[in-house]
Amino acid sequence: MNGDHPASRKARPVQIAFLTDIHSNREALTAVLAHARARGAQRFVLLGDYVGYGPDPEWTIETIAGLVAEGAIAIRGNHDEAAVGGVNGMNSNAAQAIDWTSRQLSKASLDFLSKLPLSVIDDDRLYVHADASAPHRWLYVVDGEAARHSLEAAETRLVFSGHVHVPAIYGLSNIGKLTPFRPQPGIAIPLLAQRRWLALIGSVGQPRDGDPAAGYALYNDYSAEIVFHRVPYDVETTAQKIRAAGLPAGLASRLFAGH
């Protein structure tokens, strides 16, 4: 077969763990990293929003920076940008948390955040926090039309994003038909080679789909299969820290319900 065949294109499969919207949630990130490593994750791709909302920004950035030093790719999210450059267009809870976050972060962490790219192309994949057609505008990809817009703006076959805190997949066929899909945890979904796909990875630190467990996804770059996972973590501890830090109480209570 010619060089396009996956068997000749990839010497061996690589398991890539996609994490996004961690939001200073140390307990959730710790649980997800352990879960991903136990399942053979060899590379980490972090799709933004490491800080904001949660109580452990400095620890979280140090951890992310550590992963990047070991070869992970990290993309910038809107909360990361706000922590460095100031609040712009956020709701009051988010803005309050960002003010607090900026005061907690070390010079080195702020410096790390300020240097993150808005998007990265890696093989046949684009990594971007929000809508790929205008990464700096932080638009939410919440429906088929938005997904189509994002996919059409990208040049790669696959797009991986975060920002919406709800896992979803959209497939786009070569005749322009869009298939939306809500992935079930633990089920391998093939991102079939003859069409294009947008994968929205659910949030590690503040899920909003009614399931409080931390979300992330593992992608196998040989079989082109993606598995969304949910990992339970110690929500009580995170919530206590949020209250103890004097952050808005709603940021603690929503973690229990996953909304």
Binding site: M1, N2, D4, H5, P6, I169, G171, S173, I175, K177, L178, T179, P180, F181, Q184, I187, I189, P190, L192, A193, Q194, R195
Partner: protein, 467 residues
């Protein structure tokens, strides 16, 4: 890109192409061989020429996605798939045997044979549905009869995996299926209802027992939609030999509202295998179609006919087996077992209960059941089983009674559970006794070997009683 030409002798990814075995509208099928694989194989290659129906391509993608995720004797074993960008193909087991299509010249078939075929297809569908796949194109040519008698379903090009993206759903506005067999909800574009396959099987059984297709072979959407409001002539009108119980089952499969059909393929298979216990309704006696006015009213009010609920997970409508042993069952134990079953049936109103008793045969003189005494015993046990279940107050149609004759009660219970796809066995514990410690218990053996959940019911010991 243009697909490379395939001809006898070509080698594709290690598979040597032998001869063409089929050339259909959607795909060509070749016999292939590969060193190290002894079983006969076929390679299915889609026809991707210019101007082909795009559904052909999407159907092939679906089959490439679904087939590797399936296992068991009721589907062809998946071997390999080719990369779509170079040469799309699927290599799978070549199933020995013939499809049900080869029986068409023999129609109509005797009712008992139709029920037997229907039960075996339903068992295959149950295995498929438990793997989260709805076939959506059940028809004679897609059912292969293995030499073992087991049915294997083929061609998953229109199928839907309930946990994977459905590429056909968004792709095309026309309903996809095969006109004579397509369920009403499928005609309306619903693709996630496992009971659509029961409708198709009902059409197949109707065809096989009467020699006539219940809805003809309409070629337009309007013609397809007629099945939403126009009921077919009852099978007994066309074929008086069709017994009422078989008409009951077939017409239940052909109900327009999926909720009125059997909840699962396993429950349908159970009905087809126990004709004497099918709960007969007005369906079984019907000899004419509904009148013009009734049908016309339905036609004018289609929105109210079809309220599609979400397809039940097979777990919502399990078959529960109560293995009742009268020798060890005191009053308290009998009530404890009923209490457990009552809880299960309340939690899952669509469950079926199969009450089973094993009539133990002596190892010698096996034919004793043929004599009057044996027959009397069998009947007496059935009466006792019904009496035992009476306090459960279960509606007709949700409970059946079976007396099995065997030398080993545990083996009989296990065989029954496997053959009928039982989801949950409830049985009593044997009283504490020297016998149990010497011989082991039936419940212990069943719990260790069962293909499903086993609940062993024991009356709580009094405090201070011997352990």
């Amino acid at each position: 890109m243009a697909a490379p030409r395939i001809s006898p002798g070509s080698v594709i990814d290690g598979f040597t192409v032998d001869s063409q075995v089929h050339r259909g509208g959607m795909a060509t099928i070749w016999a292939v061989k590969k060193p190290g694989i002894d079983t006969p194989l076929i390679m299915k290659v889609p026809r991707l020429a210019e101007g082909e129906d795009p559904a052909t391509i999407v159907g092939f993608e679906m089959e490439q996605m679904i087939l590797p995720r399936l296992s068991g004797p009721h589907v062809p074993k998946f071997v390999a798939a080719g990369d779509f960008r170079t040469l799309p193909y699927i290599v799978m087991e070549w199933i020995e045997g013939k499809s049900l299509h080869t029986r068409l010249p023999d129609l109509p078939l005797p009712p008992a044979e139709v029920a037997d075929i229907g039960a075996r297809v339903a068992t295959a569908l149950d295995a498929l549905h438990r793997q989260q796949v709805v076939h959506l194109d059940v028809k004679p040519s897609n059912v292969m009869v293995r030499p073992s008698g087991e049915m294997a379903l083929i061609d998953f090009g229109l199928s839907h995996h309930l946990l994977l993206p459905d590429l056909l759903d968004e792709e095309f506005r026309l309903p996809y299926g095969t006109a004579p067999y397509m369920a009403p909800e499928q005609v309306l574009g619903q693709r996630s209802e496992p009971r659509s396959d029961l409708f198709a099987l009902g059409s197949l059984m109707y065809f096989f027992v009467t020699g006539t297709r219940p809805f003809g072979d309409p070629q337009t959407l309007k013609g397809l939609k007629k099945r939403l409001w126009r009921d077919p002539p009852p099978p007994r009108k066309l074929r008086p030999e069709c017994p009422p119980w078989l008409q009951e089952i077939i017409l239940r499969c052909l109900e327009v509202d999926p909720a009125q059909r059997h909840p699962t393929a396993a429950q349908l298979a159970l009905d087809l295998r126990t004709p004497g216990q099918v709960s007969l309704t007005a369906r079984s006696e019907r000899m004419t179609q509904d009148g013009f006015i009734a049908a016309f009213k339905r036609r004018m009010d289609l929105d109210h006919i079809l309220v599609i609920d979400k397809g039940p997970a097979p777990g919502d409508a399990p078959i529960i087996m109560a293995a009742v042993d009268f020798n060890t069952l005191g009053d308290a134990a009998a009530e404890a077992m009923r209490a457990t079953i009552r809880q299960l049936m309340i939690a899952m109103p669509r469950a079926r209960l199969a009450c089973v008793n094993v009539l133990k045969l002596r190892r010698i003189g096996i034919d004793s059941t043929l004599d009057d005494e044996g027959e009397h015993k069998h009947l007496q046990r059935l009466i006792e089983l019904r009496h035992w279940a009476r306090p459960l107050e279960l509606p007709d149609g949700s409970v059946t009674f079976h007396v099995l004759e065997a030398t080993s009660p545990a083996d009989a219970i296990l065989d029954y559970a496997r053959a009928n796809h039982i989801d949950h066995i409830v049985m009593g514990a044997r009283e504490r006794s020297a016998m149990r410690s010497l011989l082991g218990s039936v419940s212990g053996e069943v719990a260790a070997e069962a293909p499903c959940t086993v609940t062993v019911v024991r009356v709580r010991a009094e405090d201070g009683a011997a352990p």
